[in-house]
Amino acid sequence: MLDEKSKKKAYERILKIVGEEHITVQETDKILNAHDAWPLSEAKIRAGEILQLADMIVFPGTVEEVSKTLAVANEMKIPITPVGGGAGTCGGTVPVYGGIQLDLKRLNKIYEIDHNSMLVRVQAGVVGIDLEEAVNRHGYTTGHTPTSLRASNIGGFIATRSGGSMSSLYGKIEDLTLGLQLVLPNGSIVETKAVPRHSVGPDLRQLFIGSEGTLGIITEATLRLFPIPEERRFRSITFPDVHSGLEAIRKIFRVGILPSVVRLYDPEDAALSFSMHFEFEEGHCMLLLAYDGDSKKIDIDEQQSLQICLDEGGVDQGEGPSKRWWEHRYDMYYPTRLTTGGYAIGDTIDIVATYDKLENVYHAMKEAMEAEDAVVMSHFSHMYQNGGSIYMIFFTSQPDAEIAWETYKRIWDVGVAACLREGGTMSHQHGVGLSRSTYTEDELGSSFSVLKQIKDVLDPNGIMNPGKLGLGVRK
């Protein structure tokens, strides 16, 4: 937290940049803006705790205002925590060391669509659903539909290296972002050119995608667009076990088929998600597939992938479960009486691994997490040619806050340790934030020092989102 003199001085200087209406030191505003959707933050709020607060919140309206604000913060060595939609699940926007929360929601312009190149230029504060609806009007989709689409924004997508439910076909945000504008901690405005590919040194754009506000602030992006597919078709197949389901997925990608949705639910998750609505063998897994594109091409892809599934021991369940999931895909994001009652807390560790390690990671994590009093259910989703992600979903309910938060931490510790031990990577799309910050060094291994050296050069005063991504942790 800032001392009163520094706080007053910073407030007066930044007020001149953004105007009185766009800066606040009110405690109520700080509380209402403090958190993202990190389950631990939400559980603590429900339990009556107040999270760490910023000293002030600034709402810049232009990139120039972002630049000038950062220059002041850098000069005064004030921590800056960027805030996008506040929908992240890792505590990335919690201002653990106070300072300034820089809220980008006013940067909400959607600029031109380049129909020839199928690109759209957009400011960081545009909410995902607003961009998707805007491009839909012109016959396009962004192809990026995370569950948080209604709440998260473009800057947050890019800063956390996020992925949508159809990333198997369209790619993750790092594949969808062609150009970036960002502001470095010293206030300089930097642009990376929007080109499909290049061979001019390392791709600096990728340095900032996933940097979680620790290296600079993303203010604008040029994103790829896709024509809205002629058809989206759904198919569902059950398998006797995880292994046969994963084998089917691996072989589907191996023959060159790219479904838009590929989700394999383990027996626990399949039972919870589908047994109320569909009849299928008890203890079996459920694979959901969707195909986007030209109907004739879908005919071929669907038949070929179905045959692969049947050869692996799958049972065709028609379009029902897959289509139902699509139509209700946002429902699980809403709170319920059960999940918000008492000291209940659940979360997801969205790991990623290659096919040779995926099953081992799954079994090792499940065993370790269940040993810590967690109910664990999982689905394999966001699958690719070389491997994919597992959503290790866990839930625990404890008699009091202290035990609940400790249990939650232990489940995370053993889950991530098992993941790393078996050769997985601890996040596919949610990012690091606070929840995984302490594991970052172990995850990156020898490359962590590279990241740290880059951080030290770009942000010598350590003002940018300290405590996140394993960087800038203060004693």
Partner: protein, 374 residues
Amino acid sequence: MIEPEKIAEQVRMCAACPKMCRHVCPTFFAWRSDAPTPHGRALLMHQDVVGTRDIDERGVEVLYQCLECSHCLTWCKPEIDIATLVEIKRRSLVSKNRQPTGISELVSLVKDNHNPFGEDHSKRNNWIKTKKLKGKKILYFTGCTAAYREKESAQDTVSLLEQLGFSVELTPDEWCCGSPLLRTGNQEAGLELAAHNVDVLNAVDAEEILVTCPGCYRVLTTDYPENGHELNKPIRHVSEFLKHELNKLPTGSLDGGVTYHDPCHLGRHSDVYDAPREVIKRVSGSPIVEMERTRDNAMCCGNGAGLRTLFRDYAKKIGAERINQAKTTNAKYLVTSCPFCKEMLDAQSDDTLTVLDLPEFVMMISKGRDVKTD
């Protein structure tokens, strides 16, 4: 009446939600901050309920930065009605005399003048021209906006009813329905108006009461009976009334498309969506060109629940956005079925989009047809 335990459960769930409705919240649109959002309001109330933190002065302001439009409810899977919870909390704030000054001034205006505009009560509806016809007697509850700010709407309502053969009764003794007070937490003052209006309206010899303002409609049909103030005649909104007279309505053709704005109190709060559409379709001969956000997903005009009184520029910003949404349909006419919405939307529109209240629209068609016939 919602039990305190239920309120606690609902604000807890809303405060724990990753903001699944925020993208449609008009005040989020206007402020672009997490404070004036359903989640922000719920979090304030949750912390108050569990004793973490009292609602401070800024918290009071945040609770009055709500249109009570219930658009969030359309997107809420657990069906948490933050508008109602905000209104209940506002009542508690008013009981402790903690409402914003602007709301206290509004209450005084209504108490002194029987309307929220501070206009002379004696001139409320005595200017409306009526004919003494022998048809079925309809008591037209004018409402403050039509009486003082949207006079064409009021006169067209009467002219239209008479054209349909009804005898229109007006009472100079009607007061503000109480909606602006009830929605801002001033229940006691609002119900005083209810008591007066029930006495006055019940004494008039008429077969039913017709209202054009959905704010009035909601309080007359819901708030009055819920609080023991029973009217002795059926109450109908003009859109439903005209729907029953569909075959008698004038018809004509227009030189441009028509889009329709659903008023929150008529649509989401009273579930009347089809009647105005059927009327518009019948009289114009063509279907409505719907906006993307329509029916229970329609954006509020920005006028409701004291927002215009307290935060005029932000209310206008919301109204201007609704006009932008209407313009994307390329319609030439934006019809609503609420004088209050009409006033806001008309003020934010320009020459390319004509904004009309439903009775005005029907009478415009009627006059057009007459011109052609002549």
